[in-house]
């Protein structure tokens, strides 16, 4: 309980501290960390809990981002409506892609199929210039005053933080629910799960749809932060990055992906200011982590904590 209060206080004070001692840029970076954390957490419902190696999560992130952008720019709909519609469109994408993908058993084929679908959407957005502006992207997306980032990222930070916390809380509820338990059973042992009377495809489809929904929220948030969007949000490398966050942070610990997101976003930002080969370092760290601590950083911390405090008499 007191840990929660402490974390909440820290998260609330963080941008103020950043504003005093550093620059606005770091608040912007903190916003990015929040958004990627939400994205990585949503993704982990599919991989960590559902055992579905999706290599196409950029599709859901991008669908959220483009729905948000297009509705704000072309239709000029009010932001709250748009912000609800964006994840719904993303979830619908998850439903359609999932409908075809969950039939497939085996991680490799699942990854290839989801990757193909996301590339399909990427190409569509890239080529459909009249509707999506193609690779020019969309700039100057109107953002309501209360989260405007013109003067300061402070308001947006709190907005993103509250949205992400609500989403992560809901994800936590799902993983703890009976549904979450059966979903994990499917990851552990699909055959056994079928023989307790479960049509696993339906559970996986539901999990992928929920995962896509929250990824769509992350996509909408990034648009409101950047006030612009380009087909890059749909690139396969975005799907790759979110997988790496899960691996690095640890996908078997609920908050693991957040650890991965923090490290990746910060490393990305700092390394790019020193070298253009930042991806080289990220790659190195990942190889190291997969070889020596496949359970991820959060996984290691969790295990050592268990060893220290929960030593069972045996």
């Amino acid at each position: 309980m007191w840990v929660g209060v402490l974390v909440a206080a820290f998260l609330a004070m963080l941008p103020i501290g950043l504003q005093i001692w550093t620059s606005e840029y770091y608040i912007y970076l903190a916003c990015k960390v929040i958004i990627w954390s939400l994205f990585a957490m949503s993704f982990n419902l599919a991989l960590g809990y559902g055992g579905m190696m999706s290599f196409g999560h950029a599709a859901f992130y991008g669908l959220g981002a483009y729905t948000c952008s297009l509705l704000l720019v072309k239709a000029a709909w009010p932001m709250p409506v748009v912000f609800i519609l964006a994840p719904i469109v993303a979830a619908f994408g998850g439903l359609v892609i999932g409908y075809f993908s969950v039939r497939i058993m085996g991680m490799f084929y699942f990854a290839v199929l989801t990757l193909s679908f996301s590339q399909l959407i990427y190409i569509m957005v890239f080529k459909w210039r009249s509707f999506t502006m193609g690779d020019d992207g969309i700039q100057g997306i109107p953002v309501p005053a209360f989260i405007s980032t013109l003067d300061s990222y402070l308001n947006f930070y709190y907005f993103a933080l509250v949205v992400a916390l609500i989403c992560i809380f809901l994800l936590w509820k799902v993983t703890r629910s009976p549904f979450g338990l059966v979903l994990r059973s499917g990851r552990e042992n699909p055959d056994r799960t079928a023989f307790i009377g479960v049509d696993l495809r339906r559970y996986r489809l539901a999990a992928l749809t929920i995962s896509a929904f929250f990824s769509g929220i992350a996509g909408a948030l990034i648009v409101l932060l950047e006030t612009s969007v380009s087909p890059d949000v749909l690139k396969w490398s975005v799907s790759g990055e979110v997988i790496l966050m899960g691996l690095l942070g640890g996908m078997r610990v609920f908050l693991g992906p957040i650890v991965g997101a923090v490290i990746m976003v910060l490393l990305n930002s700092f390394l790019t200011s020193y070298t253009e080969y930042w991806a080289f370092f990220i790659g190195g760290i990942l190889i190291f982590s997969v070889l020596f601590f496949p359970q991820g950083i959060a996984g290691i911390v969790y295990e050592s904590w268990q060893k220290l405090f929960m030593r069972s008499p045996s």
């Binding site: 549904f179 994990r184 552990e188």
Partner: protein
């Protein structure tokens, strides 16, 4: 009144009949043993009954309704549970979660996404863990259990599905004589207590003779003899195959 009936069930793998024209019928509350050497088609037979494979020919009737052609999960819903030769459970979940997952599915509560597990499911899980003697280990991670306890856990999962008809594929596979004896006692006891019907395979012949009320002998995919344990023991063909004289 038979609970399970097989009529001319056949399964071909590339032209070879792994199960050839098998007919049998299992009465309620029976412990029915299927014996036979390795490769006789026992496991294939179980995979056919439980819906893992589709029959190429024949009919499978359970409680008066045809079940061949149904998916495994639909067959579980009819009340047939199965265990595997290589004990199958959820290794990284706790013993409690292993059984509760099955209970939640049976109670049709596994689609509640934001709620907690129900009181009723917790009570039932506790009862089952008591029956399979794993209450004291309920918070252990399943993969830390010893072979005998794993088998009990798998039985707990099967009981959690609400099944009263159990298909047990070599329930004492890989166990020491002591473990075998205690597992056999255990199976006999819960069959009695819970009014179960059991169809099981085994190649430890003494064990089968000891607990079965009826035995069928499989050889090259066919049933070559069937009857009470005493009859089987006297059967000449069976003696030739099994005892080698």
């Amino acid at each position: 009144m038979p609970v399970l009936e097989l009529h001319g069930v056949t399964k071909l793998f590339g032209g070879v009949a792994a199960v050839a024209d098998v007919s049998l019928s299992v009465e309620s509350n029976q412990i029915y043993g299927v014996i036979g050497p390795n490769g006789a088609g026992k496991t294939t037979l179980f995979n056919l009954i439980s819906g893992y494979y589709r029959c190429d020919r024949g009919r499978i009737v359970f409680n008066g309704a045809e079940i061949h052609g149904l998916s495994p999960y639909a067959i579980v819903a009819k009340g047939i549970g199965r265990s595997f030769q290589v004990t199958s459970f959820f290794p990284d979940m706790t013993v409690w979660e292993n059984v509760q997952a099955a209970v939640l599915v049976k109670k049709r509560q596994s689609w509640s996404l934001l709620s907690h597990d129900s009181q009723a499911s917790r009570q039932e899980t506790e009862v089952i863990l008591g029956q399979v003697e794993l209450l004291d280990k309920m918070n252990d991670t399943a993969k830390t259990l010893a072979a005998g306890d794993r088998k009990k856990l798998e039985l707990g999962i099967v009981l959690g599905t609400g099944a009263h008809f159990l298909l047990l594929d070599e329930p004492t596979c890989g166990m020491s004589p002591t473990e075998t004896t205690s597992t056999v006692d255990f199976i006999t006891r819960i069959t009695e207590e819970m009014k179960l019907t059991i169809l099981f395979t085994e190649h430890k012949i003494d064990m089968v003779m000891g607990i079965s009320s009826h035995i069928a002998v499989m050889h090259f995919g066919s049933i070559i003899a069937s009857g009470r344990p005493a009859d089987i023991r006297m059967n000449e063909t069976v003696q030739q195959i099994y005892f080698g004289d």
